[in-house]
């Protein structure tokens, strides 16, 4: 069967995910409110303009929305006993997972457009629009792929277990990614640590998009995010192929 046919089935799975997991009031509200609250917690009392906040705000909005639901989908399907029927359909594991990634991607992009619009209305000017849009698409896909990778282990049918473990990865990443302090202002060890986070490169790119200033060059930011996305997706496919049968034992 052609990969194009499998890709079409990925889109079917993505639509199913949106219907079932994303198009729900609490999920939407979480996607909108949570990054804003987190940002407020770290900026209140500090003299920062909306322009200063923009890279971190966009980074957190994209990161948290595109990883909000993805890790819970497979455990939830296993818990509600729909997974066995789904994985015995003529759909390759990569196509199934790509469907979940697409759904997280769409959710991440749509919700992140709201803080972007608010920032623009409040006077933030995006100078390098093409670079920013490309970076936003790439970052959202990268984080959506990470969200699927986060659900690999343990192969449980308890969504709360996976969400708790994924939070252990997601929250530290925010703190090491130059969201609150630009990378070039971090000490050497801080810069070294921040380089292992994909979020660092989007925040850096967002800063470049509005000011022309960045720690890494824009092509480097885009290239590293592409590599991260590919690694996350490939690792997710390989590991899910290995652990998926354990969800039924």
């Amino acid at each position: 069967m052609s990969w194009l046919e499998q890709l079409k089935r990925s889109l079917v799975i993505a639509r199913k995910d949106v219907w079932i997991y994303y198009a729900k009031g609490p999920v939407m509200v979480f996607g909108l409110i949570f990054p804003l609250f987190l940002l407020m917690a770290f900026t209140i009392g500090r003299n920062m303009t909306v322009r200063d906040l923009f890279p971190g705000l966009m980074g957190m909005a994209i990161f948290f929305t595109s990883t909000a639901v993805g890790p819970a989908i497979l455990p939830w399907e296993a818990r509600s006993r729909t997974l066995e029927r789904l994985v015995t359909a003529p759909v390759e594991v990569w196509a199934l997972l790509l469907g979940d990634v697409f759904a997280s991607f769409v959710f991440g992009i749509l919700i992140s457009l709201i803080p972007l619009a608010v920032a623009v209305v409040m006077g933030v000017e995006v100078i390098h629009v093409v670079v920013f849009v490309l970076g936003m698409l790439l970052a959202t896909f990268c984080f959506a792929s990470l969200s699927i990778l986060l659900s690999v282990y343990p192969p449980t049918d308890v969504p709360a277990t996976v969400m708790m473990l994924s939070s252990l990865v997601r929250f530290p990443l925010v703190f090491i990614s130059g969201v609150f302090v630009p990378v070039d202002e971090l000490p050497g060890w801080g810069r070294a640590i921040s380089s292992v986070s994909p979020l660092t490169y989007f925040v850096d790119l967002a800063r470049y998009s509005i000011s022309g200033i960045s720690y890494y060059s824009a092509p480097v930011d885009l290239a590293v995010m592409t590599v991260f996305a590919a690694v996350f997706l490939l690792a997710a496919v390989k590991l899910h192929e290995r652990f998926l049968p354990q969800r039924f034992s």
Partner: protein, 315 residues
């Protein structure tokens, strides 16, 4: 042509061998029952046939598509209802069917026509726009069967299709299985209900501890009971099973409602003993029937090890 071919299929989980070199084939157009106690390897076998679990050894093919080398084609040939499965309860019955049709690549017009037909056939058409959340267990099971048929598969694999259902749903599902089979669909089903297997299946395989110990027609399996006979009787007064099991020709005594079932080697000698016993205890025999061993009797004897070796040899 064989619809399902299984050869030396084996699956191990660490040191435990769940399925141990099983081989069988299901001929196109037959209803094949797969019987076994809990933990015997039924579900693992089905999961290998449906491509969820990879076999450690051996091969299996559905409509000539090898499940390891060509899993997508093999799955396209299958309609599958897992044992503890559910439809998406947040979606309507109609959307569930459309979703499954799209995953199987069924063109839009075809899947809409087929979905309408299936929902009517299973008595769900009037509820097609309702969320599955409000469906009873029987309705959900009927919907799952509809979903498994949306791609008009040549092979239908059903894992305990009528388990825990009300009489109406159970009867409807069995009727549909027969109708589908008459129309040419090959059916592979597991069940705990021996009576269902006996009524529905052309052939059955009995699996125990990962090994197939018998494959044959239900009638032939009954005959494999050899010299075993069953006498069903009740007396005018209460009788202890222990007293009757003391007769030399009686192998086993089981209570069945208000009757007793005696499994005996020599029916003539056993009836003589029963008559002597009733006279000695001033009891009247109210009913006495001699029965051929049921498929259930054979199943219990095989899976508990009684005569399994000799019957496996016959299989």
């Amino acid at each position: 042509m064989d619809a399902i071919q299984v050869k030396d299929l084996t699956k191990r989980f660490r040191s435990f061998t769940a399925v141990d070199h099983i081989s069988f084939s299901v001929v196109e157009g037959e209803i094949f029952g797969f019987l076994g106690p809990n933990g015997s390897g039924k579900s693992t076998t089905i999961r290998m046939l449906t491509g969820i679990v990879k076999p450690d050894e051996g091969t299996a093919a559905i409509m000539d598509h090898d499940i390891s080398r060509d899993p997508i084609r093999a799955r396209e040939s299958i309609g599958f209802v897992p044992e503890m499965a559910n439809a998406y309860v947040e979606l309507t019955a109609w959307r569930n069917l459309m979703l499954m049709g799209e995953l199987y690549g069924v063109p839009r017009r075809e899947r809409e026509e087929r979905a309408g037909d299936l929902l009517r056939r299973f008595g769900l058409y009037e509820r097609r726009d309702d969320q599955v959340r409000g469906f009873s267990k029987g309705m959900r099971q009927r919907l799952l069967l509809c979903m498994s048929l949306i791609n008009d598969p040549p092979v239908l694999i059903l894992d305990e299709p009528a388990s825990g259902l009300d009489v109406e749903s159970s009867r409807l599902i069995k009727d549909v299985i027969r109708d589908l089979n008459r129309a040419g669909t090959t059916v592979f089903l597991t069940t705990h209900n021996i009576e269902d297997a006996s009524q529905l299946c052309d052939r059955v395989a009995i699996i125990n501890q990962g090994r197939i110990i018998a494959v044959d027609r239900p009638e032939a399996l009954r005959r494999m009971g050899g010299g075993l006979h069953c006498i069903e009787l009740n007396f005018s007064g209460s009788v202890s099973e222990n007293e009757l099991s003391g007769f030399t020709c009686v192998r086993e005594v089981r209570r069945s409602g208000d009757k007793l079932r005696l499994y005996v080697d020599d029916i003539d000698m056993a009836i003589g003993c029963i008559a002597d016993y009733s006279r000695a205890h001033d009891l009247r025999i109210l009913t006495l029937n001699t029965l051929a061993p049921s498929l259930e009797d054979i199943f219990v004897r095989l899976t508990t090890g009684v005569e399994s070796d000799e019957l496996a040899g016959a299989a």
